[in-house]
Amino acid sequence: MSSESYIRRPNRPLQVYAIVFLIVLYVPVLFIPLFSFNDSIYVRFPLEGFTVKWYVELFHREAVWNAFMNSVKVGAVVSVLSTALGIFGAKAITRYRFPGRGPLVGFIMLPLVVPLIIFGVALLVLFSQMGVPLSLYTVTIGHMIVCLPFSIATLLPRFEGFDPSLEEASADLGENAWWTFWRVTLPMVFPGVIASLMLCFTVSFDEFIMAFFLTGTQPTLPMYIWGQLRFPQEFPSVLALSSFIIAASFAIVFVGLWINRGAHVSTIKGD
């Protein structure tokens, strides 16, 4: 026991470092909500006074609502489709040995690392050559590329963490594969599925670069913000909108990660 004590001994400087690290990680982002309540169109100290007028004004803008609905639609479709494909993929990867599995998994995980601008322009070129007009559908396909690796990375540890003999038992007891999936597999990986849905929704909801290249006439919310950034007088309302998005994203992701806790450690492998 005594030999372990030096490892367990609290390391004060490191503790301070960790706390400073977390503060620095969050503080820049927190300035956005801080200034969104500031009663001035300039983003600067000293603060002028508390107001919610930027939020109220935002609430009455039709363009914001349209962009919001576009983002929600895309996010919902993307999260469901990516998670469905992710379940198939994760099950195949964990349950079966087949030649070329490693490289194939690496290929599917590529969008995690390769600069998205490359896939963005590649899809843009494909759609334009095929004569497909840019729309929310093209954005959806782009976002699925981004979300699929996240979905699989979220689900993989779930599949790895449960005993395949449970599925075999179900099969032995006479359930076919479909019912085995519904009654055994899905309940076992359910936290991962929920987490994947929530994470994919947020990633899609917040995603910018794919949308930047693939959006047609209907902007998503990040595209709308991007458009507003050019106008200095719009700065406070952009801050208000951003605060709302940040709050929503943080809440959804936190719940998602928390539901899926315990399967979190081995998220990223190799590449």
């Binding site: 820049p28 994470l199 998602g256 450690v265």
Partner: protein, 310 residues
């Protein structure tokens, strides 16, 4: 869905007399079942990743003529990219900026990963969630936050002026390489921690005890046990940050200004205002190739060093 029902035939003991060759293959071969189950995902990725990428390669060999393309294959774009100094300069700068950002991120995040792996015993999960939370949320808005912080009349400048430390705003804060590096390091920190944490967490604590028993102090113990064993995590963290940041568009566009522009901005310009898609395609391919080469060299180098150490 058909995959499910087909592989269903395999796990139930229903005789498959009428089944065709495909069902028999699925029934017999584990590999076939694996492929069948992976196929929806794989087909989607092939159609959405590989096909567009191949078309991108082909397009990079075309030439832009006004609003149309001359589809005779030529390496003109690549020659131009090699000859005109602006392309090379932007590419070098991108690699340089993301290289520094990567080093900064890894150095800053390593102690954090170490702390959570070795010194957090309760609520470890909560720490991990809080460290990775920002990574999942809007990249655009996290970059935008830095614009608010570093801006001409931003948080830092106006705070310093209110206190009275400076008379006029510091201009170098925004629109510089440094602004881009700080923002990149901050934005990717959450991504860097995870792989390093995983490899630190895996280290067998009894090795550390052994080192102590054999007379190593804390510093030697760290240098001889912890650091080498966590090197795989450090390497994958470096690659996970370096590769995507080289092609980053948002950060240099919002915070870079002319001095901090990167290759991603140039690629976007080719597809936007300049409207020379084949050139943009060529630049994307060059970016991919350069990144690939650097990664291979980096991995070979670290493997070599690791073999020399052990």
């Amino acid at each position: 869905m058909s995959d499910q029902t087909l592989s269903g035939a395999s796990s139930s003991d229903m005789p498959i007399r009428r089944a065709n060759w495909f069902a028999r293959l699925i029934y017999r071969s584990e590999a076939a079942r694996g492929f069948a189950l992976l196929s929806p995902t794989l087909v989607f990725m092939l159609v959405a990743l590989l096909v567009p990428f191949m078309i991108l390669v082909v397009m990079s060999l075309w030439t832009a003529v006004g609003f149309d393309f001359d589809t005779t294959l030529t390496t003109n774009n690549y020659q131009q990219a090699a000859e005109r100094p602006i392309y090379g300069a932007l590419l070098t700068r991108s690699l340089w900026i993301s290289g520094i950002a990567t080093v900064v991120t890894v150095v800053v995040c390593y102690p954090m990963a170490y702390y959570v792996a070795f010194h957090v015993h309760r609520n470890k999960m909560l720490w991990l969630v809080f460290m990775t939370l920002p990574f999942w949320t809007s990249y655009l808005l996290r970059v935008f936050a830095w614009k608010v912080v570093l801006g001409y009349e931003g948080v830092i400048n106006s705070a310093l002026m209110t206190i009275g430390l400076i008379e006029t705003p510091l201009e170098f804060l925004l629109y510089s390489k440094e602004a881009v590096i700080i923002t990149l390091a901050h934005a990717w920190a959450a991504f860097a921690i995870l792989p390093m944490y995983v490899s630190l967490e895996k280290i067998d604590k009894s090795l550390l005890e052994a080192a102590t028993d054999l007379g190593d102090g804390p510093v030697m113990r760290f240098l001889r046990i912890t650091l080498p064993l966590s090197l795989p995590g450090v390497i994958s963290a470096s690659l996970l940050i370096f590769i995507p940041t080289t092609g980053d568009y948002i950060t240099p566009a919002l915070l870079g200004g002319p001095d901090g522009a990167m290759i991603g901005n140039l690629i976007q310009k080719q597809f936007g205002p300049i409207n020379n898609w084949p050139m943009g395609a060529a630049l994307s391919i060059i970016l991919m190739l350069v990144i690939a080469v650097i990664c291979v060299v980096f991995i070979l180098l670290t493997n070599f060093v690791r073999r020399r150490i052990s």
